[in-house]
Amino acid sequence: MAAVVDEQQVLRRRGVFRRPSATTGAWSWFTTVDHKRIGKLYGYTSFAFFLLGGIEALLIRLQLARPNGQVLSADVYNQIFTMHGITMIFLVVMPMSGAFFNYLVPLMLGARDVAFPRLNAFSYWVFLGGGLFLYSGIFLGGLPDGGWVGYAPLSTQNIAVHRMDFYALGLLILGISSTVSAINFAVTIINMRAPGMSLMRMPVFVWMTLVVSFLLIFALPVLTIGLVELFFDRQFQTTFFQAAQGAQGDPILWQHLFWLFGHPEVYILILPAMGIVSEVLPVFSRKPLFGYPVVVFSGIAIGFMGWGVWAHHMFVTGLGPVANSAFALSTMFIAVPTGVKIFNWLATLWRGDIRLQTPMLFSLGFIAMFTIGGLSGVTHAVVPADYQQSDTYYIVGHLHYVLFGGSIFGLFSGFYYWWPKFFGRMLSEGLGKLHFWLMIIGFNLTFGPFHILGLQGMPRRIYRYEEGLGFDFWNLVSTVGAFMIALSIAVFIFNVVRAHRRDEPAPEDPWDARTLEWTTTSPPPAHNFDEIPVVRSLDDFWHRKYAEGQDGRLAPVVAGGADAQGAVAVRRDDAGHGNDSGSGDGSGGHGGHGIHMPSPSYFPLLAALGLPVLAFGLLYSTFLVADGVLLLLLGLYGWAMEPSAE
């Protein structure tokens, strides 16, 4: 230890690696390691990508509004639909869920930060770099155009332009971001819970974060292998996925790798929203979540079973009747824990005191829309029916009911619910409700008709369709609906701008909520809690406010009693995990004085910058490869060697 201290003093004297200390101002956003600010960065960035992906969606709908659309050329259309999928999945739903993980998990656990704050900053910068890298193709010969699934050998066919190289390398970079982020959250959740916060007292949202983290940790390596092989096939003439002209590879191998990642990915996209809904429903029903252990365990069960269903994306590839039957059965049975969740949510509402405020409306919308997506999902598990539905608009309808009706509705529920906590401002209820109704009507107008179109024979990923196929009417309806969704998003943005122009601070606990994040100020101080809370039960904060009698009836705890009951201050000297630990290994004094929070750092940004530079180098110049590696190493070296505080 002494040697380390000496070295740190040497470094400090030299002043080379002086650690930044500013926590305000524009520059501080580049060096921050505060989980709340990183969460906001994730939120801002993913929302920007959401608008971009939305504009792409509108272009798609304009092109398909009438038969033989002339808005986009075939070539541009193929790039746009590919980027719409990639954007919404990798640059919107995943990082937007990440925004919630970042902001909320430490607060919900009663911790002061995540386990590895600098790693957290690193994963954000890598995500941003990966997203910009993916889109940089727009200036360099075009965006990826092989569909978000990048099926070989189409994706390895045209090596004259780098479009699908941007896909392969961009997703590799994003995969690094997600992997380190997932490790960070898994470690945080397992190690940094407040005293008394046993696993079965954790909020369901935290549970879902944990499941998603493990899914990411195990799923992304599979995609990584596939992407590296894809890149090698394109650049180094390997034949992993090539079967033509005597090559010994197999294009089906790509599909297995992609979907072995891709199906857990579906649960990576939906479980966070399920977690949000599981937080919102009890608060606005004023009842505990019905069957908390069952909801938790069905989430875990979905996480496990999600590994055994990937080939249902490949029923029409000719896997043979035995494999198709096996995956039909596994797919049907994953519907069981999903259904259990829905029934438990319904039972949570039952005999509750339901307040139809905006967060609740979006959560109810989630249940209603996700149920439709789940049911159409069961019809895909009926394999012969899938022989008809596969690769048609019916599938496109299904996936949007799951990922938009599910994930996006859930995320908006989360925005409205936690906005006062994130920003200290209440969003307008009236505008929020307008947003909800526009969005749910627009959503159903847009995606409901897809089921009909698909069954009537409209394939997906076509840039035009002819008259006389019966596709005209419902396509037009869908386009109208898409613009209604766009309008609803405009209402949301207006709501946000309006709320932030008014200087009306939000209270600490505007919804009469149940979890720990509502015990601190809105927004919370940098150190989250003046005193680390001690947890005595599930929904601890609720129980500090209300005492539950033998008959299950509640009575408010008398004023002043709350402090005596719950918020006992303890010092957590034992909670330190190296100098990056945010769990207040200093004094737990009042007002946050004397609490050591992790210092900001330049190095995560520097190291993250190395990855896109390295990727550009792989495509354009060895010199850049060296630069990228150098940046990465420099960043990691400085990261390892910098003093814990200045």
Binding site: D75, N78, R286, F290, G318, L329, R351, V382, A385, G448
Partner: protein
Amino acid sequence: MSDRLKRRLGTGALLTVSAVVLGACAENAPQDSLSPAGPYARQIDTLFRPVFWIAVAVFVLVQGLLLYAVFRFRHRGDRGIPVQVHGNRRLEIAWTIIPAMLLAGIAIPTVGTIFSLDRRPAGDVLDIRVVGHQWWWDVEYPTLGVVTANEVHIPAGRPVRLSLETEDVIHSFWIPRLAGKQDMLPGRTTTLNIQADEPGTYEGQCTEFCGASHANMQFLVIAQVPAEFDAWVQDQGRPAVAPAAGSPAAQGAEIFVRGTEVGSCVGCHAIEGVQGAEARIGPNLTHFGSRATFAGAIFQNNAENLRAWLDDPDSVKPGARMPDYNLTREEIEALVAYLQGLE
């Protein structure tokens, strides 16, 4: 608010159900998977319909419970804090077991149908080999010695076993009224059974994204009464008839073989009976004039469309592999006359 929610979701449910039912009887939807025209498509339809209605029943149940709960238990201000129910083991076991049993019930006929669709049909089966290309279909009748493109002629009422292959990327062969779809994979041969009960023209298209003109990779299945089919086979089996000397068509035939400075048609296209025209890169054109469509079945086979196509293939079919040879107006007219004469 909850009244509106109820109304909205109620109409939504009704709309969805009735729309899908309407979709089922939609006219002018030649690719409608819900109006099967042969035993294989019907087998799928028979399986799908009850599943659909089960799904509708679950839909009504869940949305009904949701709406009821929202309406019945919404905040009224006078009820106080509700009883804190944490769970109910019996209920939870029930809604785990009942859906599982329901799904098991669906699984049994599903597995049965999977195996049944996979089997080679019994009896007198016609074998046809279809090879996908970017972006057209090569159709070969190995036992009958016929090669054509984009139009699959079959005898009505007789089972057909398709062997599906691809020349380049993955394609998927889908003729919704006759069968489900089947991918065509590099390095493999997959199979699909189709059969049409009645004579007629059925429309299909590629359903696996295959590049620029994926949307333009369509085809027809033309089911004929057996006698007509046999006659068609007879006609298609003959080599092409050489056009009368001195006619525009003869001039076209010469251009077809000789080509321009840039290249020639025979570099890719075969015409049986023409010396040097044996390549199989593009469609076999031996009986081009007898086809209703061309270029991935997206154009009616008429002089106007053919002129536009020969003039600049890529502009009418994005990414088309057929090069633009900068043909003169006269050359195009001669080729059109020749090709349309290949009956």
